[in-house]
C-alpha cells in the first residue's frame, strides 16, 4: 500500500448545520427504504440484496484492514470459509454420523464463528506482521489455497465435496428465518414474511451492526492507531501504539468480519460445501480478489465506500442476469453475447472506468459531489 497516504475515508467532520441535518435525514430515508423494500421486492431481488449485504460485511472488514491499517490481504476468502465452517460445526446437529456438530443454538454458533474467524486471523499475525504490501497480499493468498485443501481434506467438518452439509438456518426465541412464505404466520401489512423477507431483515441487522461497530472504531482510538500504523509505524510506536498488537488486532477484526460474511454466505447459498476449484467458488481466489475490488472501487478506507463497492461487485453480477434474461429468450450459441458474458463485461469495464476516472473510488466521487454541501453552513 505504498500510496495509502492518499487513502480516502479518514473522517472529516463537516461543520455545516444543514449538512448535518441532511445527513441525518438521508440516513433516516435510507432506513425507511431498506425496511420497506422486502414488502415490495420479489424474492429473487431480495436475494440480490442479501448477497450485497454479505459482500458489504466482508468489505467493511477488509477496508478496515487494508484501507485504514494499510495491510493488503487476499485471504478474505479463507476467513469466509473459516466462519462458514465454524458456524456449520457449532450449530450443526450433534450426533450426525456424517458431520461433526455441537448442536449449539444458532446465535451461539454465529458468535462462535465470528470469534473463531477472528482468532484464525490473530493466529496469522506472526506472518502478517512481518510482511508488507503485495508480499503480504500474495502471502495471505496462501491461506486461500490452504483453506481449499483443508476444506476437502476434512469432509466431516467442512461438508463433503459430494453433497455438502446444511448450515443450520438462523433462529432465535423460536423465531426462525427458514419459513416458507406460504406457511409464514408473521406478516406485515398483509405481506407474509417468508424466508427471503426474514433473511433480508436479519442481514440488514447484521450489516448495520457491522457498519456501526466499524464506524465507532474508525472514528475513535482504534481507528487512529490503525491509520498511524499505516502512515508511519515508527512514529506510531513512539506515540505509544503497539504496532504488533494493532496489526494483529486489526487482522483479527477483519477476519472476524469475514467470518460473519462467511456465515451469511453459507446461509445465503443454503449449503456448506468446499469449493470445487481454488479459483472459482464461494471461498476462493476470485472471491478474495472481489473483496479487494470492492474496497478499491468504493474508496480505500471508506466505510460507505465499502458498502457501495460491495453492492457493485457482488450485486452487479447477480442482478444483471435477472434483468437481461427474459423469459422467452433462448440460451443461444457458445459464442453468443450471453447475459453472463454481458455481465462480466459490465463488471470489468466498470472497475476499469471507476479507477480511470475516480482513483479514490466512489468515496472520492461522493466527497466531490457532497463537498460543496458539506462546506456550507
Amino acid at each position: 500500500m505504498s500510496d495509502s497516504n492518499r487513502a480516502a475515508g479518514d473522517m472529516v467532520p463537516g461543520d455545516g448545520r444543514w449538512w448535518r441535518i441532511g445527513r441525518v435525514a438521508g440516513a433516516a430515508l435510507l432506513i425507511v427504504v431498506l425496511l420497506a423494500l422486502p414488502l415490495y421486492l420479489p424474492g429473487e431481488w431480495l436475494k440480490v440484496g442479501t448477497w450485497m449485504m454479505t459482500g458489504a460485511v466482508g468489505a467493511l472488514g477488509l477496508t478496515l484492514l487494508t484501507g485504514q491499517a494499510g495491510q493488503l490481504s487476499l485471504a478474505h476468502g479463507f476467513f469466509l470459509l473459516v466462519g462458514a465452517v465454524s458456524y456449520a460445526v457449532l450449530s450443526g446437529p450433534a450426533g450426525d454420523p456424517t458431520y461433526i456438530g455441537f448442536g449449539l443454538p444458532p446465535v451461539v454458533g454465529l458468535l462462535g464463528a465470528v470469534l473463531i474467524s477472528g482468532l484464525a486471523g490473530a493466529a496469522f499475525a506472526p506472518v502478517s506482521g512481518r510482511l508488507r504490501g503485495i508480499y503480504l497480499g500474495v502471502a495471505s493468498l496462501a491461506l486461500v489455497f490452504l483453506g481449499f485443501w483443508l476444506g476437502r481434506a476434512l469432509p466431516a467438518v467442512a461438508g463433503s465435496t459430494s453433497s455438502g452439509r446444511l448450515p443450520q438456518p438462523f433462529s432465535i426465541f423460536g423465531l426462525s428465518v427458514d419459513v416458507s412464505r406460504q406457511l409464514s404466520s408473521l406478516s406485515v401489512f398483509g405481506v407474509p414474511l417468508g424466508r427471503d423477507e426474514r433473511t433480508w431483515y436479519l442481514y440488514l441487522l447484521l450489516t448495520a451492526i457491522a457498519y456501526l461497530l466499524a464506524q465507532g472504531a474508525v472514528s475513535g482510538r482504534p481507528g487512529r492507531a490503525w491509520r498511524a500504523v499505516r502512515d508511519n509505524e515508527t512514529a506510531a510506536t513512539v506515540l505509544g501504539v503497539s504496532v504488533v498488537r494493532v496489526k494483529a488486532g486489526v487482522f483479527a477484526i477483519s477476519s472476524a468480519y469475514a467470518g460473519l460474511a462467511g456465515v451469511m454466505t453459507a446461509w445465503w447459498t443454503g449449503i456448506m460445501k468446499p469449493d470445487e476449484s481454488e479459483v472459482a467458488g464461494s471461498y476462493g481466489v476470485t472471491v478474495s480478489i472481489a473483496f479487494l475490488a470492492m474496497i478499491v472501487v468504493g474508496g480505500l478506507g471508506s466505510l460507505p465506500g465499502a458498502v457501495l463497492g460491495a453492492a457493485l461487485v457482488f450485486g452487479l453480477p447477480v442482478a444483471l442476469p435477472l434483468l437481461t434474461q427474459s423469459a422467452s429468450a433462448d440460451i443461444g450459441s457458445g459464442t453468443a453475447f450471453s447475459p453472463i458474458v454481458i455481465t462480466n463485461f459490465a463488471y470489468g469495464a466498470l472497475i476499469v472506468l471507476i479507477i480511470l476516472f475516480e482513483p479514490s473510488g466512489m468515496a472520492g466521487l461522493g466527497r466531490r459531489l457532497l463537498g460543496p454541501a458539506r462546506a456550507r453552513t
Binding site: M1, S2, D3, S4, R6, A7, T66, L72, V127, R130, L131, R132, I134, Y135, G137, V138, A139, L141, A142, F145, L146, F148, W149, R152, A153, N232, E233, T234, A235, V238, S277, E278, V279, V285, I289, L292, A293, V296, V297, L300, S333, G334, T335, A336, F337, S338, V341, N344, F345, Y347, G348, A349, L350, I351, V352, I355, L356, P359, G361
Partner: protein, 293 residues
Amino acid sequence: MQTFLQVLINGTGKGAIFALLALGFVIIFKATEVVNFAHGSLALAGGYVVAVLKPMVGWWSAAAAGITAAAVLALVIERLLLARARNASDTSLAILTIGVDVLVLTEVVRRLGTEASPFLGDPYDVKPLTLGDVTVGRSEVVALAVSVVLITAFFAAFRFSPWGVAMRAQSENREAAALMGIRSSRVTASAWAVGGALAGIAVLFLATQDFSGGGLSQATHGVALAAFPAAIIGGLTSPGGAVLGGFVVGLTEAMTAQYVDLDFAKVAVYLVMLLVLVVRPSGLFGRVVQARV
C-alpha cells in the same frame, strides 16, 4: 530413482514456463510497481491469436503473430489505461488490471465457443523423447531450451544494453532516471511489451497436451496464476529471483505430487512461498524497503 528422475524432469519443464511467466510479471512490476493481475489474460489473448491464425498461415507465423499480439495488448493496457490513471495508487492500478483481466478473459472464452480447445504446440507436442527409462515431453525440452535462451538474452540485455540500463535506472529511481533524460513512458511501455511477449511465448507451451494437458481455455488462465508465487518467492523486484522462483514452484509441485500427496501440490507451493517470506519478507532476492523516522 527412475521415478525421481521423471519427477525432476516434469518439475523442471514446468518450472521453465513458470519462470517465463514470472519474469514477465516481474519486469512489469519493476518498471511500474503495478501487480499485473491481467498476466494470465495476456497469455490467453496471445494464444487465441495463434489458434486463429494457425490454420491459415502455419504454426511459425501464427506463433510470431501471437507473441506480438500479447505484447501489443500489454502495450495497449499500459498506454491506454494505466498511463492515464495518473493519480491512482499502485493498489488501484492492480485492481484496474483485474478489470482488464475480466474483460479479456470473458471475450476470449466467448470467442473460443464450444469448439475443441485449440492446442498450440504443434511442432513439439505429444512427441516424447525417451532417455532410458525416463520419458520427457518434447514440449518440456523445447520450453526449457527456449526459456534458457530467452532468459539469458534478457539478462544480457538487462545488464548491457541501453534499454537495460534505462530500465534498471528507472526501476531504482524514477525521478533520477527522468532527470537523466530517460523517457519514463518508453521504458514503462517497453517493459509491458516485453512482459506481454514473454506471456505470449509461455502460452505456446501452456496450451499443450504435454504441459498442461489442455488446449487454450479458461484453465490456461488459471495455470498462469502460478506466476504469482513464483515471482514472490524470488522477490518481486528481481528478474533472477523470478526465474529461480519459477523453477522452485515447478519442482515443489512435482515433488509434492509424487512424494506427499497429489492434491497437496498446489498448497505446498504456497506454503513454500510463505516459508520463504517468513524468513525473507521481500522474497529471496527482493529489495527490502526500510521505513525511516
